[in-house]
Symmetry: C3
Subunit: 248 residues, 3 copies
């Protein structure tokens, strides 16, 4: 049995973070809160999402036979399109396992959607064991603005550190854009000398998914995956993206 | 002879209400005001429009030989596109019957448009004699918001009453949306048990046509047409839409 | 050597004025400021642009061997798309003649673009010697609003004076729009009786290029080119468009 109530804006923020990588996925519901781990169709990007039960105004879960919690298959795009209509109001969620349905109630509006058959969804990925030599924490607006500008210039983006500077760099046929931030312009920087190249499209989608956060943490290596971490639901939820590097 | 002056915003509101159903039609001008009755090309929806002469800041009409008033064929889409440019200012209208032209003056801008030949337009429909067992009066925003959400879900919408509740319901392949409002959440409700099904596209267009009203009245029957009524021009005008039901 | 600093909003305003006619062109840099003269690909419209050095917050130029200043080939659309990302902040510009590159720095963001090979660009046009019997100075909003409305009606626009009135007139198949402004509604008018016809598309593009100006000066003749003049950068820059008439 799952039944919960949450601010519509907070739920929207969470779903936006997830659909930056996947349109649908398996959401795991437990007494502690919600969890999701999914890879995008091209197997290049992964999202890990956690939302604590205290992000909800009301949260009830009894798992009966499910030791590991309840797993439901969700079409996140559908949910978002319905949430987009309402204002910032309360949403009441409940799951009917027997009928395989999610119920969502906003004021006098009741929305019912069939759950997706979990076996029809891509398998939950294993999180690879990774160690990142460099961590950068920066203001989210610096990050998002640079990504928006970068999209005008090229297709791939280089993220790196050079001593005490973090940089993002994109090259077009005729032009080049570079953001360079020194340690004192960042919230945190591990100094070093390394960089990795990424496909801009993925990072651009991710940067849309983090529009409500304040800071973003980038974990980097040399020709290594990029991990992007940020908070949702005023710190009561966490999102982590993992993106494979391009070989230069 | 017809010459009149009206607030551009009020005229825009009226034309928007009309083009929810028809792009062009016969407008009847009399000493009392303006009238229009027209059906949409597919013969599924009808609009009846009335605007009293006191909605105008100046209104002059002398019908000469026309006992029933003057009938002019109008391209409402054209008028709206020109009105859309101006701000909220005064519009001076006049009709030259001989030349078959409408003159519209907004400040220093003069717009002249040929009237449409009335015989080229669909015949004015007869208003069928209908009796509606149920009447619902509701806040327009509840109505419009539900219609916007419904468009994300399906193609047909069920409108009905069930005892003391009015509901709107739409089903998609995977999901279902339902607005249920109890008597105390409505301005008026005739209790009953009945419903009818309608094509959502028509109601969605109508809901755009009523964006300036405060309340909307829905007259309903069992597998019966829907009549939607609302006011324009701060109560000095009335619009009524009639929509044929779909057979389930 | 050229290095300068300017408000991003002012630079944007200048580039928008230029791209109303050309996407790329030769910009001439001298100790006095910037200059450009270019014709559009169809040879129907010309833009002349001047920006004084005091429109900049910092301006350094030493021309070495270039007596006539430095000439650089610029892709203005590219510049505008990057400027569009930033807010209203300072932009630092510099040119590396050897490397044939323009550097643009906004805060921590550095943008480098290859200069276009001047020989690959259309030759700078000669400004024809023209004498305009009539001059009209008007509020820019009256002008821009009429052009927007005119686009809904037809393809060509007549600009003329008739005694003490200036008028703009456009005819569609079914309708006609006319703005008539008497001398007292204008800032300046040379009375007369003449008009010329122009392709609306060009004037519509130009009217977008002047969105930050307050007044616009129109110089007119009988079946003669139209010259449109306005200021940019709070009077520290001047733009002049020249448009060939259509033969009626």
């Amino acid at each position: 049995m799952f039944e919960a109530e949450i601010d519509a804006g907070v739920l929207k923020e969470c779903i936006e973070a997830i659909i930056a990588v996947v349109d649908e996925g398996k959401l795991r519901i437990s007494a502690e809160g919600l969890n999701l781990r999914a890879v995008d169709p091209s197997n290049v990007a992964m999202v890990t999402f956690q939302l604590q039960n205290d992000a909800f105004d009301d949260y009830r879960f009894s798992n009966g036979a499910h030791d590991e919690g309840l797993e439901i298959g969700m079409d996140f795009q559908k949910l978002l399109s319905i949430l987009g209509i309402g204002g910032r109001e309360q949403v009441r969620l409940s799951v009917d396992e027997q009928a395989q349905k999610l119920y969502m109630r906003m004021g006098s509006l009741a929305y019912t959607v069939n759950l997706l058959e979990p076996s029809s969804l891509r398998k939950e990925p294993k999180v690879p064991e990774l160690e990142f030599p460099v961590q950068v924490v920066m203001d989210i607006e610096d990050f998002r603005r640079t990504i928006r500008a970068a999209e005008k210039v090229g297709e791939y983006i280089l993220l790196g550190v050079d001593g005490d500077e973090f940089y993002m760099e994109v090259e077009g046929e005729m032009d080049k854009l570079r953001l360079g931030l020194r340690k004192e312009q960042l919230i945190h920087l591990t100094p070093g000398t390394l960089h990795s190249l990424f496909t801009l499209d993925y990072i651009a989608a991710m940067s849309k998914g983090m529009s409500h956060a304040e800071n973003v943490t980038l974990n980097l290596g040399k020709d290594y995956p990029l991990q992007i971490e940020f908070e949702v639901a005023e710190g009561k939820g966490k999102v982590s993206y993992l993106l494979a590097p391009r070989v230069e």
